[in-house]
């Protein structure tokens, strides 16, 4: 348990009305294991884009699954339980105390990874995203990686759609600058 100073940070879990999805995993089976298998990679991509740190992303996702499991009977009836996991994972990643705690809880389960780690293109994009202010980065990740609509992001963030559009607009401009500054821009143009 980690308490933080900011009252905004303590709202850990989204209300049960949350109903957005994680791209591609909306209709998985009811079992936690099946859900985990389907949702893990999309969530990792979202959290890696959000944190630019593969270990942090993995710990945050794993922590969110750990919290989901005791309440799985309830979560499974949500339209899109992966949205709940994503919100919790982003909250974990956002607070250094939660990160520390998650890292400690899940460290023993880290194995030496058999995948090759993020490709250079992914690394470059995540690092460029990391230079963005929190709100803009969050909006970009939700829109471009999690595939949420502007309305859904506005609902989730408690902001007006105009505000979300502004975050996206400014975020894209900043991202373009960051990508060209890094000299490693463009993945496929």
């Amino acid at each position: 348990m980690v308490r933080t100073h900011g009252p905004g940070d303590t709202r850990e879990e989204p209300p049960p009305t949350v109903a957005e999805g994680v791209g591609g995993v909306d209709n998985v089976g009811d079992s936690f294991e099946e859900f985990y298998a389907a949702a893990f990679q999309p969530l990792m991509l979202q959290l890696y884009a959000y944190t630019a740190d593969i270990d942090q992303a993995r710990d945050a996702v794993q922590e969110a699954f750990s919290r989901a499991w005791p309440r799985w009977n309830k979560l499974v009836h949500y339209d899109r339980p992966a949205a709940w996991i994503r919100t919790v994972a982003m909250n974990v990643a956002r607070s250094r105390w939660r990160r520390l705690r998650a890292a400690r809880a899940h460290a023993r389960f880290r194995r030496d990874d058999v995948t090759e780690g993020p490709s250079p293109d992914r690394v470059a994009l995540a690092r460029a995203l990391a230079t963005l202010p929190e709100k803009q980065r969050r909006a970009i990740v939700l829109f471009h990686v999690a595939d949420l609509s502007i309305t859904e992001i506005a609902d989730q963030e408690g902001a007006a759609t105009g505000t979300v559009k502004s975050w996206l607009h400014r975020g894209r401009a900043a991202l373009a600058t960051a990508l060209s500054d890094s000299g490693t821009e463009e993945t496929n143009a």
């Binding site: 993995r58 794993q62 463009e186």
Partner: protein
């Protein structure tokens, strides 16, 4: 997604990002379940101990005790009978002056045992805002020492300790309880005082103290004379290693109107294990030194901006697998992972205001510079926990001051010198 920018095509960029192969091997649903199960077990066994944490790096607000700690009596609580003078024949602790007025009725016996308190309906003051939707307040019925807002609620209130002391110096003891409302993620501990009214009902005197000022958690209580001593912590929880948190005993007394701190320190000194470390380094130019190899030096500058001397700076450097290090700092461990070779090094103590340069002599096959992307080094500096006797937690980072962790990592390119 309309994209009118003349710069990168974001749709393509992100499609490429999301459509590649797996990013990392799944840790596994079983591992997530294991952690959750362990937490539930821990909570069942030791709900009062499993606690929460925060680093109170902010300055203590010692002068606000009386302002912030009025006895927060709920509106519908009957007025406590605390001001009833004591009869002269009642047992009186030697430290407490006995009022000379001696009414014939003895004061109500406010000594309530832990079992009775844990199965009673108690009037609890409101919890802080962030816990209001998780923790019951007002008239709360306890069962076996706990209470919850709903059976499915993750957070629950637990009465973890009960002591008895004559707070109002009436010759009869009252009851002081350490109570917390906590769950996996967050929680709050507080000390409340209870008495009985003339009809033998339990009534709440008020809040002795909670997480006020620099108090991040309350670990214990003990009775002393006509006061209660409260053991307060400046940090707690799973993110905090053993021995990091500071604790103090602070004494609180009933003033007739509310509880005030009457003894013990009013603030924590700066935590001796919190200091602001930073690291920086430049791109490394590797110079061809043979037919196929190139070499160069990665120079990392580690600084301590204070305020404490960091006894055990712990440096982690990750280099591409193909790069070999021909000269390392003395106390380093090497491990391989899929994304490179990791060097974890204990550095000599670093005084506040001091910096030091750590050199890694590198050698690499020139072929690694053929790719489109330059190789990268990444480095991170923390003040590391040296571990328990069994080695548990070795290298675990002590927290940085609030907002000071951004400069704890650095990265750069490995380039072939032209």
């Amino acid at each position: 997604m309309p994209e009118n920018d003349n710069t990168p095509n974001f749709d393509e960029l992100f499609t490429a990002y999301t459509s590649g192969g797996p990013l990392a091997a799944p840790v596994g649903a079983a591992a997530a379940q294991h952690v959750a199960r362990r937490r539930r077990t821990t909570r069942l066994v030791a709900a009062g101990v499993l606690a929460v944490a925060v680093l109170a790096a902010t300055p203590a607000i010692a002068s606000t005790w009386t302002d912030q700690n009025p006895p927060a009596l709920p509106a519908n609580t009957p007025t406590p009978t605390l001001t009833t003078p004591a009869p002269s024949n009642s047992p009186t602790p030697s430290t407490s002056p006995t009022p000379s007025a001696t009414p014939s009725t003895p004061p109500p016996d406010g000594l309530i045992g832990k079992a009775e308190l844990g199965n009673a309906t108690l009037e609890l003051p409101a919890w802080p805002e962030y816990l209001k939707e998780h923790c019951p307040a007002g008239r709360v019925t306890f069962s076996d020492g706990t209470a919850q807002l709903a059976p499915s609620s993750e957070l629950r209130i637990t009465i973890s300790d009960v002591v008895h002391t004559d707070l109002d110096r009436d010759g009869a003891k009252e009851t002081v309880a350490l109570i917390n409302c906590s769950g996996i993620e967050m929680g709050e501990s507080r000390v409340l005082a209870f008495d009985r009214d003339t009809s033998d009902s339990i009534e709440t005197i008020g809040l002795v103290t909670g997480h006020t000022g620099d108090i991040a958690w309350i670990r214990g209580i003990r009775a002393t004379g006509t006061a209660v001593e409260v053991q307060v912590m400046d940090a707690a929880g799973e993110g905090v290693v053993d021995g990091f948190a500071q604790s103090q005993w602070r004494t609180y007394s009933w003033s007739g109107k509310g509880f005030v701190q009457s003894g013990g320190p009013s603030a924590f000194p700066p935590n001796p294990r919190v200091t602001d470390l930073s690291i920086s380094g430049d791109d490394v130019q590797l110079v061809p030194d043979g037919a196929d190899t190139a070499s160069g030096t990665l120079s990392l500058t580690v600084s301590n901006q204070g305020p404490q001397r960091a006894t055990d700076p712990y440096l982690t450097v990750v280099l591409p697998t193909e790069v070999t290090v021909t000269s390392l700092p003395t106390k380093c461990e090497t491990s391989k992972s899929s994304y490179g070779t990791r060097y974890r090094c204990w550095l000599p103590a670093l005084a506040a205001g001091a910096d030091s340069v750590v050199d890694f002599s590198l050698s690499a096959p020139q072929s690694i510079f053929d790719g489109a992307q330059p190789g990268q080094w990444t480095a991170k500096i923390v003040w590391g926990f040296t571990g328990t006797e069994t080695g548990d937690g070795e290298g675990w980072p002590y927290p940085e001051p609030d907002g000071a962790e951004d400069d704890n990592s650095a990265n750069g390119n490995l380039l072939l010198a032209p």
